[in-house]
């Protein structure tokens, strides 16, 4: 049997790769529409022959005949009773909770175990766990994408310069990297999180400052190899500028290592965010995050729905990313059969 030569054919021929990628993409795309899937506002609402779209437009309580100028609370008794009136209706999302909505009408103490109101129970502040998982998953993946993208851009930039120009440039930058990478990352994070208001943006900046180095090493090695290839020398003799040689000749041929590392970097970034949140050094307290849920699970060890569901989401995500990564690595390896 002959092996498919095309990268995608090779990748998809392995069922594990195929389904991991498929499930991951479906979950991620779904989570991008989290507001429609899990929200405490109705998707469409019909009241007094007028159609409202509360998810898109924010309406005040007054518009529904209430007393407040603030945004309407669709779980409030006033609105729910009005919705019961004839010809008024509302379509709520599948999971009628947002990540920060607190279920006040809860009869059991928080954290409450799974019920028909909260499919996966609530956390210690009465917020819906499923909603927090969906939003938390989205945040983790988006954060990981951003961190990986920034890390790759910086890593390729410095790695390319080091590898292509080699010699003294390489020597000095290599020493700089050695000094830079010996800075205690965790302590810097702790110090900064006490100095500044913690935010996703601050986290991305701080982690990006250190995350590019592991990748730039590989890019550097690829460029050191690539700069002496005959087709690169030939490009120089054709009078091409350094930028052009780097972008057109060496970079496309060194992308294999970058692409191979991509899924592993993404899963690594998710893990970093989760562990920082777990330690309370990550995102601000209100933000839905997997690490914060895990920390709650630790605090409330008897509330198994907290730790178990978060654990499953986290392991599932990381496992799929690692399978995808291994699949990419195998498919790019021309020697594998």
């Amino acid at each position: 049997m002959s092996m498919p030569s095309n990268f995608w054919d090779k990748f998809l021929i392995n069922k594990r790769n195929k389904y991991s990628l498929l499930i991951f993409i479906v979950l991620f795309v779904l989570s991008l529409f989290a507001e429609i899937i899990s929200n405490d506002k109705p998707i469409v609402l019909m009241m007094d022959d007028k159609i409202y779209f509360p998810i898109v437009i924010s309406y005040t309580d007054k518009e529904f005949g209430g007393y407040f100028d603030t945004e309407a609370d669709y779980k409030d008794e006033f609105i729910t009773s009005r919705l019961k009136e004839e010809s008024n209706w509302a379509i709520f999302p599948i999971n009628p909770h947002s990540y920060d909505s607190i279920n006040i009408s809860q009869s059991t103490p928080n954290p409450a175990s799974p019920s028909s109101h909260n499919y996966l129970g609530t956390d210690d502040r009465g917020r819906d766990v499923l909603a927090r998982l969906i939003y938390g998953f989205r945040l983790s993946v988006l954060f990981a994408f951003a961190l990986t993208a920034i890390g790759i851009i910086i890593g390729i930039f410095f790695g390319a310069i080091q590898g292509y120009f080699a010699g003294r440039v390489d020597l000095f930058m290599q020493r700089f990297i050695e000094i830079w990478s010996s800075m205690p990352e965790l302590y810097i994070l702790i110090i900064f999180s006490s100095l500044f208001e913690p935010s996703i943006f601050l986290l991305i900046v701080l982690l990006s400052l250190f995350g590019w180095m592991s990748l730039s090493d590989y890019v550097r090695a690829e460029f050191l190899k690539g700069r002496n290839m005959e087709y690169v020398i030939a490009a120089r003799t054709l009078g091409l500028s350094n930028t052009k040689i780097i972008l057109k000749h060496i970079l496309p041929n060194s992308m294999v290592s970058v692409i191979t590392f991509l899924p592993f970097r993404i899963s690594g970034a998710i893990l970093i965010l989760t562990s920082l949140d777990f330690l309370g050094l990550g995102v601000p307290p209100d933000t839905p995050s997997l690490g914060e849920l895990l920390a709650q699970g630790k605090e409330n060890i008897e509330a198994w729905w907290l730790s178990l569901s978060t654990f499953l989401v986290l392991v599932g995500t990381l496992l799929m990313l690692i399978f995808i990564g291994e699949g990419i690595r195998e498919s790019l390896d021309s020697r594998s059969s």
């Binding site: 049997m1 002959s2 290839m229 087709y231 020398i233 003799t237 054709l238 009078g239 091409l240 041929n253």
Partner: protein
């Protein structure tokens, strides 16, 4: 008297079902040498390996045939039984002496391993046997060599040690698979003379596998011509070479480089190199005063007239490629290089880049000289765009089509990737790329060394035709004096970073002055 007989041997690649050897039969007589000739991929190495049962069983399957040595069919033997035959009765010498010795073991360990296994397990007599066989292979200072690691020895010494390991058990048959291809020409002759001498002394039989016809012609009694796994022709060497029957054999014999250029009359000076020296730091000291240097070129001066080809011949490490790269302004050197009376090294970088269209280079390895992720059209148009960024796509396509036709390829090939081409075709593309800049001078750095002989001849013809058409000047770098002499008007012989002799081609061949040149001519079987 026959010692080895191969009958109807057929080998198939299990994964692709490709027939690699198709019904091969031949007989090896005692004390004689059988030459197996063929281009790369013809199955000659496979034949050698199958005799020793060294084929990877997960890839290759022997579907029929037998290999009979000493009345036994080797193919029926178990691994243990074949192990007893290997080295003791049938030995093999591989092409690459760098790869066939274990880099972390001393020579003595590697040599006594074989002696212990097949002859004697007393360490003292092992040492003396080892010394004896090293002396026999023409090495002096044997104790020192036994105590060395492979990297401390030269290529020639390593190949002699490989031969020593192969011959220490006095085998009946020696399989020499391209034993000298990786060595410099002057060493080739010594190694072959050594093998031939031992063969005659011990009345040993030899299977000599090579792509080099001259070598086979001089050392084999009988010859087999292999192509695509089939024997096209076989017979006594003298007969096959004087009266070839098969058309492929005729092509092969005719592919030996003929004189392709006539004497040159034009005399305007194009390139002038004045006392160029080049050195590389060998240690990585940070401060320049601590650095030690290796001198790759010392005080080299030469010139090229327009429309002329000069040949630069020398062994590996002699500095010929360094000189090529210096002319291309890809290395730092001291001295001056004038092209059309323009001093190249003093040009600021922008002007230097503009000057590059006047001189181009074609490299040895057609596999690494084309970027694997660019189409042929992109490769050919790149240089043109870098000098004329406003050129229209249509004009670009026209120029590239012309270029690719000029080197004998089809226009439709423009949108393919390099891996879809053979070595010879790739080298044509590399030449087309050099031509795309409309240069005055092209440097060819061993352009045909990686190619089969018939392809080599066609490429050389192409190179000469292009020269006549565009009145180009060439600097042709090679280790192969035959190729150089067929294509050059004048020859420079370079050895140990210096030019030791120069003359017109005919005069240099017929009347060499320097001892090294004489040796080079003798080893190249030119006469």
């Amino acid at each position: 008297m026959k010692i080895l007989e191969i009958k109807n041997l057929t080998i198939v690649n299990k994964n692709t079902n490709q027939i690699l050897l198709d019904n091969i039969s031949f007989i090896l007589d005692k004390g004689s040498t059988l030459g197996i000739v063929g281009e790369s991929g013809s199955g000659k190495t496979l034949t050698g390996l199958s005799i020793l049962g060294l084929l990877d069983k997960s890839v290759f399957e022997i579907t029929q045939g037998s290999i009979i040595y000493d009345g036994i069919n080797i193919l029926d033997l178990s691994e243990d039984e074949i192990q007893k035959i290997r080295t003791k009765s049938i030995s093999i010498v591989f092409q690459e002496p760098m790869l066939s010795l274990n880099p972390v073991q001393k020579i003595s360990t590697q040599l006594s391993e074989v002696i212990k296994l097949h002859i004697d397990d007393n360490p003292l007599s092992q040492n003396s046997i080892a010394q004896d066989i090293l002396v026999k292979t023409g090495l002096d200072n044997t104790q020192k060599i036994l105590d060395s690691y492979p990297h401390m020895l030269s290529g020639g010494q390593r190949q002699r040690i490989m031969i020593a390991i192969a011959l220490v058990c006095n085998p009946d048959i020696l399989i020499a698979d391209e034993p000298t291809t990786a060595l410099d020409v002057t060493l080739q002759l010594q190694i072959l003379e050594l093998l031939n001498g031992i063969k005659q002394e011990k009345n040993m039989s030899m299977v000599l596998i090579s792509h080099d016809l001259d070598l086979i012609k001089n050392y084999a009694d009988k010859v087999i011509i292999l192509k695509n796994g089939m024997i096209l022709e076989e017979g006594l060497t003298s007969k096959v070479f004087s009266q070839p029957i098969n058309s492929y054999t005729k092509d092969l014999i005719a592919s030996s480089p003929q004189k392709l250029v006539s004497e040159n009359c034009e005399s305007s000076r194009l390139l002038n190199i004045e006392s160029v020296s080049c050195k590389f730091p060998i240690n990585n000291a940070f401060f320049s005063k601590n650095r030690k240097y290796f001198t790759a070129l010392e005080n080299v001066s030469l010139y090229i007239n327009s429309g002329e080809t000069i040949g630069l011949v020398g062994e590996s490490g002699s500095g010929k490629t360094t000189l090529g790269l210096s002319i291309m302004q890809l290395l730092n050197y001291s001295g001056s290089i004038y092209l059309d009376n323009l001093e190249l090294s003093s040009l600021p970088s922008k002007q230097l880049r503009e000057s590059r269209c006047d001189y181009q280079i074609v490299f040895q390895d057609p596999y690494s000289s084309l970027s694997p992720r660019m189409t042929i059209f992109e490769i050919l148009s790149e240089g043109i765009i870098s000098f004329n960024s406003n050129i229209s796509k249509r004009e670009l396509l026209r120029i590239c089509s012309e270029l690719i036709k000029e080197v004998g390829l089809e226009r439709s090939m423009l949108y393919r990737y390099p891996h879809q081409f053979s070595g010879g075709q790739r080298q044509r593309i590399a030449i087309a790329r050099a031509l795309s800049m409309k240069p005055k001078l092209i440097i060819f750095d061993e352009p045909t060394s990686a190619l089969d002989v018939i392809v080599q001849k066609n490429i050389l013809k192409l190179i000469v035709d292009l020269q006549k058409k565009h009145s180009l000047s060439y600097c042709f770098i090679s280790h192969d004096l035959k190729v150089i002499s067929s294509i050059s008007h004048r020859i420079y012989v370079i050895k140990d970073s210096r030019i030791i002799e120069t003359n017109n081609t005919d005069e240099l061949i017929s009347n060499p002055q320097n001892d090294y040149t004489k040796k080079l001519i003798e080893s190249s079987f030119i006469v």
